[in-house]
């Protein structure tokens, strides 16, 4: 691992396309970026690929980065866009990954069928609404963090959450489920 101690030096060198500085930033932020992405896409394998995709986008945009600003919020925003693109590209009918520990211990108060139908209805939501609803309702991330990651206002986040819930309720009703 390269020896670049001062964060500002690292960022300045990264802006000039220095690969060692990029590696330092990669190793410093990859866990946070991965953790954010896996919360959105809920698939560890896809999250790993998207972490690489995120840092690839970051590397390509190195010349546009302002070293006086913080790296992490920028990285999180790029990561959110990469995850959003992934959700748009993948089919809504795709099966839920079973490699996460959480789905392996489902809530006993809910049947497998209801769980599957709810998840299916949720995946039919538009990707932008799914991202916001996942982060706000399931992962309970603060609205402010979501708004910064998506580049929208907190008011827009609240509106998207409302629209997601309303559409989900409609979809569940269509499936014969009365929440």
């Amino acid at each position: 691992m390269p020896v670049l101690e001062q964060p500002s030096d690292v960022l300045r060198q990264f802006c000039h396309g220095d690969l060692d500085a990029f590696e330092t930033l990669f190793r410093r932020h990859q866990n946070e970026v991965y953790g954010w992405i896996v919360r959105i896409v809920r698939d560890p394998a896809a999250a790993e690929d998207l972490t690489v995709e995120t840092f690839w986008r970051i590397y390509r945009a190195h010349a546009r980065f302002d070293p006086s600003r913080a790296f992490q919020p920028w990285a999180r925003r790029v990561a959110t866009n990469a995850a959003l693109d992934h959700l748009k590209a993948t089919r809504s009918e795709a099966a839920l990954p079973d490699s996460l520990s959480a789905p392996l211990s489902p809530d006993p108060g809910i049947s497998d069928e209801l769980r599957a139908q709810t998840a299916r209805a949720f995946r039919r939501l538009p990707a932008k609404l799914r991202v916001v609803a996942t982060l706000a309702l399931i992962e309970e991330q603060p609205y402010k963090e979501i708004s910064e990651a998506m580049g929208i206002s907190t008011g827009a986040v609240k509106l998207r959450v409302y629209r997601a819930v309303r559409l989900l309720r409609k979809e569940l009703k269509r499936l014969g489920i009365e929440p």
């Binding site: 690969l19 590696e23 990669f26 190793r27 990859q30 866990n31 991965y34 953790g35 896996v38 919360r39 809920r42 560890p44 999250a47 790993e48 972490t51 690489v52 840092f55 690839w56 590397y59 839920l96 996460l100 520990s101 959480a102 789905p103 211990s105 489902p106 809530d107 108060g109 809910i110 209801l114 769980r115 599957a116 709810t118 998840a119 949720f122 609803a133 996942t134 309702l137 399931i138 992962e139 309970e140 409302y162 819930v165 309303r166 989900l168 309720r169 569940l172 929440p179």
Partner: protein, 77 residues
């Protein structure tokens, strides 16, 4: 839709799709730097197709022998 509806749907959602466990979001299961390096190398190694070079040569020759074509080229760009 009222606040109760929203709360019920939120609870149903959380029961169906529980939050990612802390262990699962702590970090990737493998070192991704090697994958990152492979990605960087792959993009660097992409060769320029021969017909791109041929097109560049043809346009350059055209501009050298017919300077008047510069205006036409600029007009079409």
């Amino acid at each position: 839709m009222n606040a109760n509806d929203q709360e019920r749907i939120t609870q149903l959602l959380k029961k169906s799709m529980p939050p990612i466990a802390a262990g699962d979001s702590a970090g990737p299961r493998r070192d991704l730097w090697q994958a990152m390096l492979a990605r960087l190398e792959a993009r660097r190694a992409v060769p320029v197709p021969w017909f791109d070079w041929a097109l560049l040569a043809a346009v350059s020759a055209l501009l050298v022998f017919f300077p008047g074509a510069i205006a036409v080229l600029l007009y079409h760009l």
